[in-house]
């Protein structure tokens, strides 16, 4: 495809410009299999990290050894052998690149498969008036291309791989990393703290509205390599940023572990909009293969009138264990969670959110759309907690489940804890099936059975799809259709 080729060339030329993406620490290497203090030290050394970070990693590792794998989620999978995983691998790059011809064709192929959207291609090609999107592509644990850094720097925005932030902005990393998700937080977050390899760092200074949407493409590539990303976004007073995260993964048979941590910090009057489209390999129709996705995402609305909005479209992974949460500490702060989780075949998802209301007049909205097909199990698990000082706090929750066929399951597990006399908490839940009548109506108008299903399910998800940035919404709509292939008939 000509367009894909063009993108590959564009990305390659950008990569060439930003050579810091190819510094020596990513020289071809894989750590020995398994996990030990030595591996933690190896990762830290590879990344040429300061002593304090190595210490932090080691504390996390030692704490992790004392922890038990959680079993409360409604997901079932064979026991993970944490000694049978590679914790560090980097793509092979020979020397510093001097020209396009030297870019690893394998790497270019990955970009091609990533299918960078047209909007971004336009931007990469420098089309006049094109919508600005910056891409920090994460290729197998190490960032290899960062674009638009200069444009962002003009406004004082820092957007770079986290390892680079550790080197160039240690004071910010030291201050904020682990401040929302401490290294003791939970089994997977603790593991991540010990062995995280890369991820994104983003800092929006006071009063700045980030001039472009920030996006990161994650991809798990090398066989049996766990992916431990760590993302940290800080929005200072009065700032705004919209961050997009999208994922793809190749077919493979072994289960792959992914345990990411995302921390968001939002100051007074600031806002972060975080959108995810996750379509990692879900395994085949018999549940063989597929990604295990155990993610900890949490936002701290620290200042007054701060706002965070999580929007997720989860269609991939064999197991999804994910609860993007909001700590509403500042008075009048706002937390939003909009989710679409689609499970087909043997997929299992246990996902939802936590809204922790601490400040006065805080409000939160939860809209969850769970779609289950095949023999899949889909659970919404959500906590709404109103603290003692959360006067006049409000929450509104809507959980809708849609079933396709009669072998799948949908479950809604809301937890409500209220210590505030003046709080208002509303919870609505529905479960419905795609009716034969609806399918026939669409088919009678000329849509195939699968097109009909995609249309009906997209209608069901509409409220959430509308929350996504434009270019993501289009991708997500297609993805909804693709994810349900084979679910009818």
């Amino acid at each position: 495809m000509a367009i894909a080729q063009e993108t590959v060339e564009q990305v390659a030329s950008v990569s060439e410009k930003y050579k810091y993406g190819f510094v020596s620490d990513i020289e071809a290497d894989t750590a020995p299999i398994g996990l030990s203090e030595d591996i933690v030290r190896f990762i830290s050394a590879k990344k040429e990290e300061p002593e304090w970070l190595l210490e932090w990693r080691l504390k996390a590792y030692r704490h992790w050894l004392t922890m038990e794998e959680p079993e409360w989620a409604s997901v079932h999978y064979p026991k993970i052998d944490f000694q049978d995983i590679y914790y560090y691998s980097a793509p092979k790059v020979k020397d510093k690149l001097k020209s396009l011809d030297e870019v690893d064709p394998e790497l270019l192929e990955v970009y091609k498969k990533l299918g960078i959207p047209l909007r971004e291609q336009e931007v990469l090609a420098g089309v006049e008036g094109a919508y600005n999107v910056a891409v920090d592509a994460v290729f197998d644990s190490v960032s290899v291309a960062t674009t638009f850094k200069a444009r962002l720097e003009e406004d004082g925005v820092i957007f770079c791989p986290i390892s680079e932030a550790v080197r160039d902005h240690p004071e910010l990393v030291k201050k904020y990393m682990g401040s929302v998700v401490p290294y003791t937080d939970n089994y997977y977050a603790t593991l991540n703290s010990a062995v995280f390899t890369d991820g994104s760092f983003c800092y929006i200074p006071k009063g700045v509205r980030c001039p472009m949407e920030l996006s990161t493409y994650f991809r798990i590539n090398a066989a049996q390599t766990g992916q431990f990303e760590r993302t940290l976004i800080i929005a200072e007073e009065g700032s705004y940023v919209s961050y997009l995260e999208g994922c793809t993964a190749p077919m493979r048979d072994e289960n792959q572990l992914h345990a990411a941590v995302v921390e968001l910090i939002i100051d007074k009057d600031a806002e972060i909009k975080y959108s995810t489209v996750q379509n990692w390999y879900p395994g085949d129709e018999n549940g063989i293969g597929g990604i295990f996705n155990f993610v900890t995402k949490r936002a701290a609305c620290r200042g007054e009138n701060s706002k965070v909005s999580w929007t997720q479209v989860e269609t991939g992974s064999a197991i999804t264990w994910k609860y993007p949460s909001c700590i509403l500490q500042g008075d009048n702060s706002v937390g939003e969670f909009y989710s679409i989780a689609i499970t087909n075949n043997m997929q299992q998802a246990d996902t939802g959110t936590k809204m922790i209301h601490l400040g006065k007049n805080t409000s939160s909205t939860i809209i969850s759309k769970g779609i289950s097909a095949g023999r899949a199990q889909n659970t919404y698990r959500g906590l709404v907690r109103m603290g003692r000082k959360a006067e006049n706090a409000r929450n509104h929750t809507v959980c809708d489940s849609l079933l396709i066929g009669d072998k799948c399951g949908a479950h809604t597990v809301p937890y409500i804890e209220n210590q505030s006399r003046t709080a208002k908490i509303e919870h609505e839940a529905t479960t419905s099936k795609v009716s034969e009548e609806q399918l026939f109506y669409c088919q009678q108008r000329g849509l195939t059975e699968e097109e009909s299903m995609a249309l009906i399910v997209n209608g069901f998800c509409k409220e959430v799809l509308q929350k996504l940035p434009m270019e993501f919404a289009v991708e997500a709509q297609k993805l909804v259709g693709i994810s349900l292939e084979g679910s009818v008939g």
Binding site: Q444, L447, E451, L455
Partner: protein
């Protein structure tokens, strides 16, 4: 255009159609009348290919092809349109999106150019104007919160847009007041042409005052018991189904 021969069909093991033979040529409008439970709607569903309706014997040929071998969407793309007695709600899907998807599905099937949103709006606005439908309805979710009249008018709008060769109208008049009925009938009449045929299923002769059929058939207990021209409809109205069926 359509040749039905000794068609038998069951639903849930129960025989509803017990040997229907009917030929509809291009340019003709046929009306099928009959009491509740006679099998009128079943006939339209079998022709449209709804699942759960099993043809046990007989044949249906559409434009020289075995209709029963085609999937519902293939039938639709080949020009069969069923205006539903009870149009179905599809929450979250705007009417305009629904119709554009349907329009493009047919275009694609026929190897013709698909239209973009702008072109589509131009196309659909011509039709809404003709049918006196407010554009606001295009933004609402398909049939959700529509009044009975709006639902039926929406069916006629979709039909006008998709320009089928064979129109199947299942009790399109039910639930319509006289003004809405006239508008719907107008829309249908506008589609009448020497190349197009129609099968109108109705309880009452009222609709046939506005859409003059070429033939009228009386369906009772899964069989066509009497056929004639439009005067048969008036006779039915006078004598009632019981007497006609007994005859």
């Amino acid at each position: 255009m359509l040749e039905i021969k000794d068609l038998h069909a069951t639903i849930g093991g129960k025989e509803i159609l017990k040997g229907i033979t009917l030929t509809i040529n291009a340019g003709e409008i046929h009306a099928v009348m009959g009491p509740n439970g006679a099998g009128k709607s079943t006939l339209s569903y079998v022709l449209a290919g709804r699942s759960g309706y099993e043809v046990t014997s007989g044949s249906v040929t559409y434009k020289g092809e075995d209709l029963l071998a085609l999937s519902p969407d293939e039938r639709a793309c080949k020009g069969i349109f069923l205006a539903f007695q009870y149009p179905v709600e599809i929450p979250g899907v705007a009417s305009a999106t629904f119709m554009k998807t349907a329009y493009n599905a047919r275009q694609k099937y026929r190897g013709e150019q698909e239209v973009d949103a702008m072109e589509f709006l131009k196309l659909v606005r011509v039709k809404t104007k003709e049918l006196g439908i407010k554009d606001e309805m295009l933004k609402r979710a398909v049939n959700v919160g529509f009044s009975g009249g709006e639902k039926k008018r929406n069916e006629v709008l979709q039909m006008a847009l998709l320009e089928p060769d064979l129109m199947l109208l299942d009790e399109t008049d039910s639930g319509l007041d006289i003004d809405a009925l006239k508008i719907a009938a107008d829309g249908i009449n506008r589609l009448r042409s020497p190349e197009r045929a129609g099968l109108i299923i109705t309880h009452y002769q009222r609709l046939l005052d506005y859409i003059i059929p070429d033939f009228v058939h009386v369906l009772a207990d899964g069989r066509i018991v009497k056929s004639g021209d439009k005067s048969l409809a008036l006779e039915l109205e006078e004598k009632g189904y019981a007497e006609m069926s007994a005859a």
